[in-house]
C-alpha cells in the first residue's frame, strides 16, 4: 500500500506526534511553573514566588542574610558561593503523613533556588551559616582580595 506508507511518513502520525509532544511540553512547563511557585495553593496566605523570604543587611565589613525556611532541615538546604554569586537552594516536603487524610493544604511543597549577586567577592571560609527555629542566618565575609588595600608609592 504505497499511498498509506507515504501518508504515514510525510504527514500523518509524525506531525500529530509532534503536536502532542509540544502540548505535553507546554503542560509540563506549566506544571513545573506551578509546582515551583506553589501555584494558587498559597493564594491569600503567602506568595511562594519568592520563597524563601529573605532579609539582607550590610554592616560594612560583612553581609548578614536571614531567610525564613520553616520545615526545611539542614540536609535539605544547600548554600553555594561562586565568586560573588550566592545561591540558596533546597527543597521542602510537605507530604500527607501515612494513614492520614488531608482537610486543608496551604503549606506548599517546593524546590526553591534564589541567587544574589553580592557587591564583592566572598571567601567561603569566612561564611557562617546557622539554622534555628526555621530561620537561616548567614554571615558573609569579604574575600581578602576584595578588601580595600593600601598602595605604597615609591619614589625614584
Amino acid at each position: 500500500m504505497p499511498f498509506l506508507t507515504r501518508w504515514n511518513n510525510d504527514f500523518g502520525w509524525g506531525d500529530i506526534d509532534r503536536t502532542l509532544l509540544a502540548l505535553d511540553e507546554l503542560r509540563r512547563r506549566m506544571g513545573r511553573a506551578f509546582d515551583e511557585t506553589g501555584g494558587e495553593r498559597g493564594s491569600g496566605i503567602a506568595g511562594f514566588a519568592n520563597w524563601p523570604p529573605i532579609n539582607l543587611y550590610d554592616t560594612g565589613s560583612e553581609l548578614f542574610l536571614r531567610a525564613e525556611v520553616p520545615g526545611v532541615s539542614e540536609k535539605d538546604l544547600d548554600l553555594q558561593v561562586n565568586q560573588d554569586v550566592l545561591t540558596i537552594s533546597g527543597q521542602r516536603q510537605t507530604e500527607v503523613p501515612e494513614g492520614y487524610s488531608a482537610h486543608r493544604r496551604e503549606r506548599g511543597a517546593m524546590r526553591f533556588s534564589r541567587s544574589f549577586t553580592l557587591p564583592f567577592k566572598v571567601d567561603p571560609e569566612l561564611c557562617e551559616a546557622n539554622l534555628k527555629h526555621g530561620v537561616l542566618s548567614l554571615k558573609i565575609g569579604k574575600a581578602p582580595d576584595a578588601r580595600p588595600r593600601q598602595i605604597t608609592v615609591k619614589s625614584g
Binding site: I45, A46, P53, N55, R66, P70, P97, Y100, E106, R107
Partner: protein
Amino acid sequence: MSQEIVRQDEKKPESYRDRVPVLSPPVDIFENEQEILLLADVPGVKEDGLSITLEKNELTLHAKREMEEEPGSVLARDFHEGDYYRSFMVPQGIDGEKVEAELKDGVLHVHLPKSDGLRPRKIQVKAG
C-alpha cells in the same frame, strides 16, 4: 467534621490592632482515626512564645515571633516583624486535656486527639 474544621474565623484579637502586625500562617490539617493533626509554618517562634488555647470548640494559635536585632543597614527585606495568629473551629469531641504541640524546624505541630465517642467503632456481629 471536614466542614467544621474548614470553617475559619478571620477576626484578629482586639489588642493587636494597633501594635505588632499579625500574620496568618499557612496550615495543613490532617486527620486519622485517632486525631486531627494541624501543622503551621511559624518560623522564628520559640517554645515560650507559643500560646495554644482550645475554648469550647475554637482552637486559637498565637505565636510570638522573636525578631533578632537587625545588624547594620537593610539591603533587602522580604519579611517583617509580626506575630502569628489564627483560629479554627474544631469539631466537638476533641479531648482538650490531651492536646499536644511541638515545634520542629519552625513548624508547629498540634495533635488534637479525638475522644472515644468520636472514634469509629467496630461493631461485632454475633451469630445468633
